[in-house]
Structure formats: C-alpha cells, structure tokens
Amino acid sequence: MEIITSTQLEDLSKGFSGRILLRKEIPLDKPTFQHFLEHQYLIPQQSIINKVFTHQCLRCGNEKKSLFAKIPCSICNGIHLYCRKCIQMGRVTECEPLYTWGGPPPNWPTYEQPCSWDGTLTQGQQQASNHMVQAIRNGEKEYLIWAVCGAGKTEMIFPAITETLQQGKRICIATPRADVVRELYPRLQKAFEEVPVQALYGGSETKDASAQLIIATTHQLLRFQHAFDVIIIDEIDAFPFNKDPSLPFSANRAKKQDSTMIYLTATPRKDHQRRIMKQSLPHTFVPVRFHGHPLPIPTTRICFSLKKDLDEYRFPKAFYKWLSKRENSKRQLLIFVPTIKLAEKMKDSLASILKKENIISSEKMLTSVHAEDIDREEKVIQFRQKKITVMVTTTILERGVTFPSVDVAIIDAGHVVFDEAALVQIAGRAGRSADDPNGEVIFFHDGKTEAMERAIASINKMNKRGGFET
C-alpha cells in the first residue's frame, strides 16, 4: 500500500465526494479500499432499511413491496433482501453497504470568466437568466422558469452556470432524457471551453463523476448525495420524472443542504401551477420565442373513419389532402402517431404517395423512430442533416429535440398518450428557426378531446401574454 499524496487525495475527493456507491462501482483495489475504510475516507452506510410493513432502498428510495425480493447470498450463504427497482444500475443487496465520501472535501476552482459563448440573449431570456442568477446569489431553495418551447432555454442557463463557477461551486444540469444529454453535452463544452464537463447517462462512455460541471439524466442522480450547490432540472414535467417517485427522491438527495434547485419547463404540471398561483414557488415566465415570433397555433381536422384507417395502418384521407396543399412544401415533416406499432407499420403505406407528391425522391428519405429503435440516435442526426425528409415517430420526439424547419402532423390526436403537455410540446417543434419561424401543426382526430382544446387554449394564452394578437 503506497502512501497517498495530497494531490491524489484531492483527485479522489473530487471523484467520490457527493456520490453514493456500491463497492463494485468504486475502482480501488482491495488493500487501498481497506485503507480508505480504516481512515474513514469512505463511510459505509446501510443500503436497505426496514419500514413499517415494508422496506426502503436507500439508493433509489423505493418502498414498494413488490419491488423487493430475496436472493440467496453466495458470500455468506444467508438469504438477503435486494431492491428490484434500481437493479439496472447494479443490484443493491441488504448485506452490502453503500459508500459515501468521508475524506477531505474537494476544492473546486473558481473561474473568473468561464463562459466562452459570445451570443446575446433576447430580452425575455435575459430577464429569466437574471432571475436565475439572483436566486443562486440569494441562496433561494427553488426557482421555476416557465419558458415556451423555443424560447432558448439552453442559452438562458449559461449565466447561471457562470455564476456558480465564479463562486467555486458545483453544478448539475439534469434532464429526464438521454437524447437531450447527448444533444446538450457538446453545446456545454463549447460554451465553457476552459471547464471540464462530464456527461452521464445509461451507456455513457464515462462513469466517472469528478467534474464541477456535470450534465446527466435524472436517473444518474441516484448515485449522488449532497453533491451539488446548484441543480438545474430541465423538463421537470416530463416523463419519467413526473411518474417515477425515485427521481424526485434522488434529485432531492443530490443537492447540498444549502443549495438552489432551478426547474425549467414549457408545460408545468398541475402541482407546480398550483404553487405558482399560491406564490409559494418563485418563477419567471418567458412567453416569447428567441426569434420573437408567436407560437404556431394548431389546427384540427376531423377524420370520421380514423379508427378504421388505423386498423389497416392507413393514413386518413384528410391527411393526404393536407399533404398536397401545405403552405411550404420544402419543410421537413414530422408525423406523430400514438404507438410503436403504428409508427412502424404506417410508414410503409406512405412512401408511394410521398413520391407522387414529390416530397421525397427515394424511400430512404422516409423513416420511423420510436423508443425501442436501436438506430434512433442515428436517425435523428440524419433528420437534422436533412438526409431524411419525413419521419414517423412516437412521442419520444415530443420534446428536447430541435429541427429548424418542420411541419407537424399528429395522427389520432385524441389518443390518451397525447395529453395537454404532450400536445403543447409537439406543437412546439414547429417554427423553431428565425429563417422559418412559422410551421403548420395539424391535429387529425375523430372527436376533439379536452386535452386538445386545453392545449390550443394554452398556446393562445401564451401568445397573448407574449403580446401577440390572437
């Protein structure tokens, strides 16, 4: 066992402080690990505790009885409880502790001018980002930014990141979707050239989390405890963050005692809206897109034989009619359908008509994408590069992804997967660039739902608040 130098110890403290890890996630050999335990650089803590009528996994917070099971232990020959909830991240068993850092706290550097982004913010963006910076300075617990789709949220958070780094503090940008992490990571690297940035998501190259600036999926927060001075949670209203209780649990634990949580959303859920109304959650509303144009308002088209068409994986007649009369046929086309099966099957019936309408020249320019598609990253890139013109998709592309010039069609917009938030988000895919700030958004349906009406009303309301006549 070699003696650890103070620089090594500093590196280790950066890598381990704020983490909550299983033994197999700690890349130390046996003697070093033992040494760390003896010196209390690493502190074991119980991983699963008993609760009344149930248990709790202290990594993911799971308390659901059906998500615990027992396993015979090959080490001590006993039978142990393990957590089935977070097993994708490595099994937490009651006989194995979780480890946290007990050594000296890391010294994060302070940066004078960490931000190398030289763009300018719009008035709306500037106001929101000033409020974020103020919230961090004043040490406010929570702050919510309600910004319409296309307001330019990413740029808005740059000053908040800058402020944190200038104070020598640690910050995490967390988002529910790995696609978004992959998209934001290079943008952050470019905007903060001098600062090491790490991206964490399931299957990411690095599992190491020793950077001061981290971008991660909300799932990755399960491996953090009291780590960050500032956490910015993007798309706070998005699935799975709003459905999986372990994600708010871990986000809450990942922050330090004195810290600021900033929520970003274009479509706040009821609980946040209620807190905004009651003024118990400070917030800023950004009603205008960065290019200063209003949000495209969806129009609705009724299709009487929709169910029958879908049973036979056909597009409704009204869709074809619209297809031949689009305002600007140069735009790419995003077609949302409610299920994976429809995405795969309906694509095939589309090719010949798209060719006839001269929208595509070969079948290669048409594709479908969904959550279980292994090529989905590649397809999204190709769509962005305009190698693909028409994409049939499930709700996985409802948010987080930006394409400059698209028309959006939703087939069976009355389906339950298209709730109000989803419809607003999907409509927000259109008109994203300053060069083409408009885009058509059409809901094809066989009976208007409340979600559709509320979505349209809320888009109108946001435009009104942005000072546009409707």
């Binding site: 027992k70 396993i71 015979p72 089935r84």
Partner: protein, 226 residues
C-alpha cells in the same frame, strides 16, 4: 400480486386449481405472458431446434463425427425472442433473482412431460459457473432452474474461469476445450440443466465428462433454445 416483469397488478382468475392450491400462482400478467414464445411444431428430436426434419443438419453432422459420449437429447421450452432476451439479461446479468420464478411452473411441466422416466433414480446436475462468476453474479441461474425439479440436485461439476460463452463466436465456442472438472464417479442417469442452448458445446463437454466418470446416460433440459 404484481407482475414480476411490468409490476402491474394481476387480477387472479379464480379456478378450482388455484383455490385448492394445486398450482403455484402465475407471477406474470397475461400481457407479459403473451410475449413468451413456446417452441412449437416440429423440432429436432436431438436438440429441440425448430425444423421439419426429424433430426437437424447440425445434429446429423455431430453424429457423423462419431465422438463418443454426448447427451441423448436436449429439450428446450422457449425460443429466444426479444422479450426473452430482455428477461434473461435482467435475471442473469443484472441479477434480478426473482425473475427466475417466472419459469418455475413451465420447467416442472416440461419435466413431467419429457423426463418423468428419470424420477426413479435420476440426478439433476446444473451447469456450474466459475467461482469468480458466481461471486460476481451472486447466484447460478442453472442451479435455480434445477432446484425447481422434483429430483435430487447435485452440483457435481466445477468450472474453470474463462471468457463468457456469450462473448465468443460460434466457431470459438465449438473449438475451445472443456472448462469442466469432476471429482466423483457416478452411476446414475443425469439430467443436465442450463438456461440457454446455443451451439450445445457446453452441454456436450459436460455430458462427455460425466460419461467418462461412469454415468450411464445424460439428458439435457434447457429453458431457451437460442
């Protein structure tokens, strides 16, 4: 009761069989059970692969090699469809031990139908993991299946640590030597148990070793035919 795979609540259809506790309750909901794919129709009487011939070309080739000592036949229950791949990955590699119970009823049923003649004196031998792998995973999936059967389970074989079978190519699998060891002689018929049959090499190695140590006949029961 919640589904072992998707955790939605299972609404139990009351029947005389479950009322009298004659069978163990299903732990998969009907939707997830629907995704399991039983091997159906004609299959090779030697290796359980779906084929219209009585014996598949692979097995015919193996017979021509005139190598002595292999298992008499293998019976597999499921095909390795995408759903099964996900279940096996979570069960075996992620270590969600509980998922193994999904197969309990089906393994017992297959045993009753195909191997009940072994009931008198047969032994069940699970394909072992190396000690290192066992420590890493915490359990041996083949042993879990073996323990469902109404025969004595004996862990006769030990295994040398090597690369995972699933990381090797077909050719590598067939060409590598046997990783197994045995310390006893044995004079009873053996039913070898494993989770997946891919090329059959693992089972052939184990069967040959057992027969070299006095075992009169070897059969194999595998959950999945890859």
């Amino acid at each position: 009761m919640n589904c072992a795979w998707c955790d939605t609540e299972i609404i139990l259809q009351l029947s005389w069989a479950n009322l009298m506790m004659l069978e163990k309750a299903e732990i998969l909901c009907p939707e997830c059970k629907f995704d399991l794919e039983w091997i159906q129709g004609n299959r090779c009487d030697r290796c359980s692969r779906n084929t219209n011939e009585k014996r598949c070309t692979d097995c015919q080739w193996w017979e021509k090699q005139k190598e002595n000592g292999s298992f008499l036949f293998n019976y597999s229950i499921f095909s390795y469809n995408p759903f099964m791949k996900e279940v096996i990955a979570k069960w075996k590699y992620r270590g969600d031990y509980y998922l193994g119970y999904i197969f309990e009823n089906y393994v017992m049923e297959a045993f009753r139908e195909k191997f009940s003649f072994l009931k008198k004196e047969g032994l069940v031998v699970p394909i072992p993991l190396s000690e290192e792998r066992l420590l890493e995973r915490g359990f041996n999936q083949a042993k879990m299946i073996a323990d469902f059967l109404p025969l004595e389970t004996k862990e006769l074989l030990t295994r040398l640590h090597g690369e995972k079978q699933s990381k090797k190519s077909r050719k590598e699998r067939i060409l590598t030597g046997s990783p197994f060891f045995i310390t006893e002689t044995i004079n009873k018929p053996v039913l070898l148990v494993d989770d997946i049959y891919t090329t059959g090499t693992t089972l052939r190695h184990a069967a040959r070793l057992l027969m070299e140590h006095g075992c009169p006949s070897v059969y194999a029961l595998t959950l999945v035919r890859g």
